[in-house]
Amino acid sequence: MKKLFLGVLTALALAAGGTFAGTLDDVKARGNLLCGVSTGAPGFATVDDSGKDVGFDVDYCRALAAAIFGDPMAVKFVGLTSAVRFTALAAGEVDILARNTTWTYSRDTDLKQTFLGVNYYDGQGFMVKKELGVKSTTELDGATVCIQVGTTTELNLADYFKENGMSYEPVPTADNAESQQQYLAGACDTYTTDASALHGTRVNLENPDDHLVLPEIISKEPLGPLVRHGDDNWADIGRWVLNALVIAEEKGITKGNIDSWKDTKDAEIHRLLGTGDDDILAMVGLPKNAMYNAIKAGGNYGEIFENNLGATSGINIERGVNASWTKGGILYSPPFR
């Protein structure tokens, strides 16, 4: 129902007017950031025992809010299912979407979205119950597959089974929670989505050891935050907060040691933390210490990763390609100058 509601809402929002330029001014006037996140993806966006929003995507939005307001808590999280997320963004329900969303050509162009970069290089995987005895996706011919509607995984799934001459029966579900429930009830043999989400889901199951994420990754899923077309300044802000977190890791700036860089000879760090003479962040309308606040909020990219997806979180996802380029990964930010 929510989807239909949002669809109508878009039509109404479109009909009732309202321009989207000057998002930063709108956000400042409102006093908080509206960030679209998943309705429940362990590691990316969930609510912890104390009712606080936590997760990889959540921390990115907190960094962005910190950059704008100096307060990482000045953000309101809006839970969106995969099917309604773009509509909600286009209708102005949220200022930014950080909802493990895959960057694709048609979403970038036809859906009129602007992707700000990649915050997680993912790929689509499959999870099965161990008792099924399946060791590889090539053994899944004839399987019933739980899949979230309105995702790229849905398209990859169709392509993958077709390419390999296998048949399957899709069981469409609205979100991760419903997929999980169907999968556990045995209404489907396997659950497919981004591998990171599968790992996150698996550790939260009652007996994680009874389940197996198959080794094959069948697609490229570069996940990243996005905004709607039409406000380049707003897109720049989001993009450079993300880049700042990546640069911070590269430079070794952490939440803990961020105050100890005042005497460094590295000019880029001074520009980044606003400790030098230049105030280059005025170019996008942010305070001089915006990136300092952003990094201070939840730490650098590496810290955010470890806290939400890595060993500290219990999900235990390896950094892999998501390591900084200086450590063998492919995370690489353009220079901050």
């Binding site: 129902m1 479109l14 099917a83 399987a143 309105g150 045995g186």
Partner: protein, 405 residues
């Protein structure tokens, strides 16, 4: 004779448009129309402007693009290489299927429950009241999810049928399998000559229709009633059955069997379909039952007393005297219930049933980002179906009404 002098005709003044009753009605209508058009134009204009601002246009070309996703329940051939338009069509047919089956079950059930609620048997009447109040007063979405949960949580997985000593077995001589993914029935396979059987079956039905007409005429003319029901059943079954064996059994059954992860062959009724159809039918039948009860109670008591004094038995009174009169009251509100069921079927996504809301208004909308176009098409579809259903039943309704001579 002096002709009465007419008052000098007043010349038309602009203020008369509102003050003069001759013009007021018309001018108010014109004003309302202008306001309505202004609001409408403003909405359309604003939509176009804001779409332009978002750098979007209004185009239905996406209907001819490759859809790229699979749909589990297809009544027509469809693959991920088909177009979004075809996907919408698959969804439309799925919606119509649920609406059709749902309406039939709801009507039959509603008729029974409605009549039984008037039963003199206290327990039966109270049970039916409980049924009606239970279904009528809980949102239909909850019933859909509830039925779906029952179907998936309390039935065995296909795997349970495996092994030398399986946990679950198929019913009815190994022909029907109830699993948490749906129910599998044997499917008829038509061999050569099967079409003669179909023809024979069709002719039998035509014969029965003529026979019933003849029987009705007999009853009118002579007052004797023939055992219509048993003769009809015999006419429908025996010729086809005899031909079936005479031609060497040209129709065979294809039994579902377990292969790999799932059952193969046979007719597969998915749990999503069953849950949606049953929940909608139960829910709507509660409303129909009340309409039926109201219709029956509206027939004056004198009618049944008169029939009883003529010696008719209670079931005859119901079928010959009460129901024909009650139908006139029942049919009009029945239409709105059929429409409600059809529109409520758009809740299908709650159980992952791929109706037109799920394909065109769900996946297609999401993959193409054409919200406005998809929503307009959807609204157009539901509007067209609703108008069709109501005009169809209105046509029938006319034949039920008392003919005024």
């Amino acid at each position: 004779m002096s002709s009465p002098t007419l008052p000098p005709s007043e010349s038309f003044k602009f203020s008369m448009l509102l003050s003069d009753t001759r013009y007021r009605g018309m001018s108010l209508q014109v004003i309302t129309f202008i306001i309505f058009m202004a609001v409408f134009f403003w909405l359309v204009d604003n939509t176009i402007k804001n779409l332009a601002l978002l750098d979007k246009d209004v185009s239905f070309n996406f209907l001819w693009l490759r859809a790229g996703y699979d749909i589990n329940q297809r009544l027509i051939p469809y693959t991920s290489d088909s177009t979004h338009g075809m996907a919408a069509l698959v969804g439309i047919l799925n919606t119509l299927l649920v609406a059709f089956v749902g309406c039939i079950i709801a009507t039959v059930l509603g008729l029974f429950v409605g009549i039984l609620r008037l039963s003199k048997n206290w327990i039966v009447a109270k049970l039916m009241s409980a049924y009606i109040e239970g279904f009528r007063n809980v949102p239909v979405l909850l019933w859909i999810v509830m039925v779906f949960a029952l179907l998936t949580e309390f039935t065995p997985a296909p795997r349970a049928f495996k092994g030398a000593e399986p946990e679950a077995t198929m019913l009815f001589f190994e022909s029907v399998a109830i699993t948490n993914r749906g129910t599998y029935f044997p499917a008829p396979v038509l061999a050569e000559g099967a079409y003669w059987l179909l023809l024979c079956f069709g002719l039998s039905i035509v014969a029965v229709i003529y026979f019933i007409r003849y029987a009705n005429k007999q009853k009118k003319d002579t007052g004797k009633s023939l055992p219509t029901f048993w003769i009809s059943v015999a006419v429908i079954i025996f010729p086809t059955l005899i031909l079936f064996f005479a031609m060497g059994q040209p129709v065979s059954l294809e039994y579902p069997y377990l292969k790999g992860f799932n059952f193969k062959d046979g007719i597969h009724l998915r749990n999503s379909f069953l849950a949606l159809t049953l929940a909608l039918a139960f829910y709507t039948s509660a409303f129909i039952a009340e309409i039926v009860r109201a219709g029956i109670m509206a027939v004056s008591k004198g009618q049944s007393e008169a029939a009883a004094s003529l010696g008719l038995r209670p079931n005859k009174i119901m079928s010959l005297i009460i129901l024909p009169q009650a139908l006139r009251i029942i049919v009009p509100p029945l239409i709105s219930n059929y429409l409600n069921l059809t529109k409520n079927s758009s809740l299908a996504i709650a159980v992952g049933y791929m109706d037109v809301r799920g394909t065109l208004g769900g996946i297609t909308l999401n993959q193409t980002g054409r919200e406005l176009e998809s929503m307009l098409l959807l609204m157009g579809f539901y509007l067209a179906v609703s108008l069709l259903i109501s005009s169809f039943i209105n046509y029938f309704n006319r034949s039920f009404q008392i003919v005024v001579r």
